[in-house]
């Protein structure tokens, strides 16, 4: 067996993984990126709409700053986020976007003078300032107070990913393509690389590394209706879970995007609504203002998705042979705007629906979109259960999204966290903890286990079909662990998944082809996906409240009193049928923004007494500093700068003032 030695092993070649790899490499550490597919085909490319960063350049973004971005993100998370990390994130986001601008991303720019925009179905004219001409512009997105989503037409993720990949190539970082990490090598709580399967040849090899970083994105494919790419099966999080050491957190926090094309689930960007698009029902009625008079179509994604499903349940959906859906109307934006700023949307409508969105309505229904949960990490990106293991991006629960992510915060997280985690990986490698003492015996032990498991599939006289079981899992997740959740159904889902996991040990392969055997791939990924699915289902069952995207119709209130907690899941023993859940409290008394009403969605929640106490305390602290600026106030409430690498600490310059 081939063993490859490197300083840093990054598993996943999307935006987050490549940014972290660049950071580590620039600090002088040999870095290898593993990717299931060519890096530029990673799912990051699918982010169409934008990246949130409080640049405050365009008129709609005037007055924006880290504080407002922070508030929006925490409210969006329904107070599930780690507020210190949100601060780190909002502070570094303008830096990340400016770095990418220098590296070559062709961000859309502010153009001086009059522009016609669509707000609330009405045309309005705004006039951009001369002073902002040529600076990076932003667009309106759900759940934000300012126009903050910086974009590149509607190919933001694509442009970012290509620039990032090109940068990684320039830095000489090898990307080993079509390689899948199937197990983490670890001993006594220290991770030291991964066992990897070459998807082209079927060969098993080992990568031994001082630091291993998981950046494999989300696990949307455990659902049937998902906007995710088909590679998003969560294998990185799953192999972390299988160590029995690393914890996953908030796995029940799964986001559903309001505008998945019906029925294929292909995403059309939130930019459609940000730019003025409307949601209509079977009668052509714009229903969102009835539910959300203030933010309307631009409430946060969890709220809009829920309202849409609620409206369909009320009999207002459009009936079709595939089921019911609603309409997205962007006709009012005009052909020119669509051709210029929503071209990918136009192409998707044209190719998959055969319609022209400038003239016709787009059939949409919420579909699984994002995994807020993932490998639980410290603010520096290191796993809380396994030393030497890091995680970044959607695969991680760094926790800026809590129970609901804002549109545009995901690509922002990838590059911001990538910047920060890349540095902390380098710090780790430089420190005494960085050195490893790995015997080839250990490596071979892990490799043998994988080889044995794979061989079992081809030898066993099982009766189950991997594709069928996968479909059953996806169906279960979509129908029982979806937007509206209920205790009974969740219990059924847990039982079904448990049963599927047992059956998955009895899979029979019809094809014994060597090399890249797609059926074998489905067979060995299935149990891992089932374990993730079980973390989601069991987490949802046990969380008897509604928070962000997690909505229990038997417990419709957010319950701060009992559930200011982050769910942690471990899979202690390989033979276990269920994960072991525990809870990590969120300390309200240390929050900069104590829990309250989000400003949209239900106002009804069970308050924790500490929330009022903390608010009083905050008022008192602010009152003692009459002459201080916002930065001083912030530092007094919840200092965070020391957690950032030194070069990311300076203040961000804006047009108005620092």
């Amino acid at each position: 067996m081939q063993i490859i030695y490197t300083d840093v092993l990054v598993i996943g070649g999307g935006l987050a993984g490549q940014r972290a790899a660049i950071g580590a490499k620039r600090r002088g550490h040999d870095t290898i990126v593993l990717s299931l597919v060519p890096a530029k085909r990673s799912h990051s490319a699918a982010a169409q709409g934008g990246m949130q960063a409080s640049l405050a350049n365009c008129l709609g973004g005037a007055g924006d700053n880290e504080d407002i971005h922070f508030q929006d993100t925490v409210r969006g998370s329904d107070w599930g986020a780690d507020q210190e990390v949100v601060r780190m994130f909002t502070h570094a986001a303008p830096k990340a976007i400016r770095e990418l601008a220098a590296w070559g991303v062709p961000w859309s720019r502010v153009e001086r003078g009059d522009h016609e925009i669509t707000v609330d179905g009405e045309k309005q004219t705004i006039s951009e300032n001369e002073a902002a001409h040529g600076l990076i512009t932003g667009r309106n997105f759900g759940g934000t107070q300012k126009w903050r989503a910086c974009y590149v037409s509607d190919g933001t993720g694509h442009a970012m990913l290509y620039t990032m990949s090109n940068r990684a190539i320039a830095e000489g970082i090898p990307v080993h393509e079509r390689m899948e990490a199937v197990a983490l090598i670890h001993d006594e709580g220290r991770c030291s690389g991964a066992i990897v399967r070459n998807l082209m040849t079927g060969e098993i090899l080992a990568y031994v590394a001082k630091a291993t970083c998981i950046a494999t994105g989300g696990f949307g494919r455990i659902y049937r209706a998902s906007t995710n790419a088909i590679i998003n099966e969560g294998m990185g999080a799953a192999i972390a879970l299988e160590t029995g050491r690393a914890t996953l957190s908030n796995m029940e926090a799964v986001q559903f995007h309001p505008t998945g094309i019906f029925p294929s689930g292909i995403l059309v960007t939130e930019g459609c609504r940000g730019d003025g698009g409307l949601l209509l029902d079977a009668n052509g009625h714009r229903f969102m203002p009835d539910y959300e008079p203030k933010k309307k179509e631009l409430a946060s994604r969890d709220v809009v998705s829920r309202r849409m499903e609620q409206h369909i349940a009320a009999g207002q959906g459009v009936k079709s042979r595939f089921g019911e859906h609603l309409w997205l109307d962007i006709r009012l934006l005009g052909r020119e705007h669509i051709d210029r700023n929503l071209r990918e949307v136009k192409e998707i409508c044209q190719y998959f629906l055969g319609i022209d969105p400038a003239k016709e309505l787009i059939p949409v229904r919420p579909a699984q979109h994002y995994s807020m949960g993932g490998v639980r990490t410290n603010p520096n990106g290191e796993s809380q259960g396994l030393r030497g293991l890091f995680a970044v991006g959607e695969a991680a629960c760094w926790d800026i999204h809590g129970f609901n992510r804002l549109g545009g915060n995901s690509v922002a997280e990838t590059v911001v966290a990538g910047m920060i985690v890349g540095e902390s990986i380098a710090d780790f490698c430089d420190s005494a903890d960085g050195s490893i003492n790995v015997s080839t015996a250990l490596v071979e032990k892990f490799a043998r286990k994988q080889t044995q498991q794979l061989a079992n599939f081809t030898l066993a006289s099982g009766t189950e079909n991997a594709f069928d079981l996968t479909r059953q899992m996806q169906e279960t997740m979509t129908s029982k662990v979806g937007i509206f959740r209920h205790g009974d159904q969740l219990q059924e889902a847990v039982n079904t998944l448990q049963n599927l996991l047992l059956r998955s040990r009895n899979i029979n392969l019809r094809s014994a082809t060597r090399g890249p055997n797609p059926e074998l791939v489905a067979a060995y990924r299935l149990p891992r996906m089932l374990k993730l699915a079980q973390c989601v289902a069991l987490g949802a069952l046990q969380r008897t409240e509604s928070r962000g995207a997690h909505y229990r119709d038997d417990y419709p209130q957010r319950n701060d009193l009992e559930w200011m907690q982050r769910t942690l899941a471990v899979w202690s023993e390989a033979k276990d049928e269920l994960p072991t859940l525990s809870y990590e409290p969120l300390s309200i008394m240390r929050m900069e923004l104590p829990p309250g009403w989000r400003g949209y969605g239900a106002k009804d929640y069970i308050e924790h007494p500490e929330s009022a106490l903390r608010r009083q305390e905050i008022d008192r602290i602010i009152a003692t500093m009459p002459d201080a600026d916002r930065h001083a106030h912030q530092a007094a409430l919840m200092p965070f700068l020391d957690k950032l690498p030194p070069h990311l600490r300076p203040l961000n310059q804006r047009l108005s003032k620092f």
């Binding site: 597919v37 060519p38 530029k40 085909r41 990673s42 799912h43 490319a45 699918a46 830096k95 990340a96 976007i97 601008a101 220098a102 590296w103 070559g104 062709p106 859309s108 720019r109 001409h133 040529g134 600076l135 990076i136 590149v152 037409s153 190919g155 694509h158 990949s165 090109n166 940068r167 320039a170 990307v175 079509r178 082209m200 079927g202 790419a229 088909i230 590679i231 292909i266 079709s320 042979r321 595939f322 192409e347 998707i348 190719y351 998959f352 055969g354 319609i355 594709f467 392969l509 019809r510 094809s511 082809t513 060597r514 090399g515 890249p516 797609p518 059926e519 203040l651 310059q653 047009l655």
Partner: protein, 253 residues
């Protein structure tokens, strides 16, 4: 208006796939390269993505092909569809005849069946043409201050060329690359056009000439225009190549 077409139409499609598994050659009963026919009942809104997955799940689990985003944006699923390169995920079967012949993209290393190693080719192209912003000062950029300005129109023009998804269709559609493997193709030339347009890249025409001023570069293009006609993203490839040809022919060193 606005209804998903409800026409009931259930053709039986004959999908003929060029099968070949190079890594299985050493063993088993490999039949070498051959055309295998699968029958699939057409469904409403069926794409080749759906049809191929159905074949794999129900008829032949060893069938290899590549899909990632299945939404026409990642460029993984380029293949030859009835003679012409295209993205399989967004090709609707209703636009195709009863017999559909699928083959892997030529010009790339074959992994197996319909799966080819476009990633390796594209990475090689990127390394060879150095498709990144070259700027001596990049190491010292200050990311705390307001970014450099750029004309909005210019940003749009750069994005226009940045839209390439490296699917390889232009390479498969190009007679020149089919004959001469060293030719960088439209995908490569478009990258040079993109960085040449970008004021952040400080390279001069002489620098670009060193990369593409030869018969493996812009002067190798014989203007067969297959790239322009078969680009799934409708990139203005012929315009860009003509532009580069003029600039490179005028370069004096």
């Amino acid at each position: 208006m606005n209804n998903i077409p409800l026409a009931e139409e259930h053709r039986m499609l004959q999908i003929q796939i060029l099968r070949h598994n190079p890594s299985a050659l050493l063993c088993d009963s490999d039949k070498g390269s051959h055309l295998q026919t699968f029958e699939v009942e057409e469904a409403l809104g069926m794409t080749l993505f759906i049809a191929l997955n159905e074949i794999r799940e129900e008829q032949d689990p060893s069938l290899q092909f590549d899909f990632v985003c299945r939404a026409g944006i990642c460029g993984s699923c380029g293949m030859i569809i009835n003679g012409r390169p295209g993205l399989a995920c967004r090709t609707l079967t209703k636009d195709l005849p009863d017999v559909i012949v699928l083959a892997p993209l030529p010009g790339f290393e074959l992994i197996g069946d319909l799966s080819v190693n476009t990633g390796k080719w594209m990475r090689g192209m990127s390394e060879h043409l150095e498709t990144w912003v070259h700027n001596q000062e990049l190491e010292e950029i200050n990311i705390d201050v307001i970014e450099e300005r750029m004309e909005p129109r210019l940003a749009e023009q750069i994005y226009e060329l940045e839209r390439c998804i490296e699917c390889g269709c232009c390479i498969a559609a190009c007679g020149t690359t089919q004959m001469r493997e060293e030719f960088v193709g439209a995908a490569g030339l478009n990258q040079i056009a993109r960085f040449r347009l970008d004021p952040r890249d400080k390279r001069s025409d002489a620098d670009y000439y060193e990369l593409i001023g030869n018969d493996a570069g812009v002067f190798g293009c014989m203007t067969l225009l297959g790239c322009e006609d078969m680009c799934p993203k409708n990139l203005p490839l012929a315009t860009q190549i003509a532009f580069l040809r003029r600039r490179m022919a005028m370069t004096t060193g």
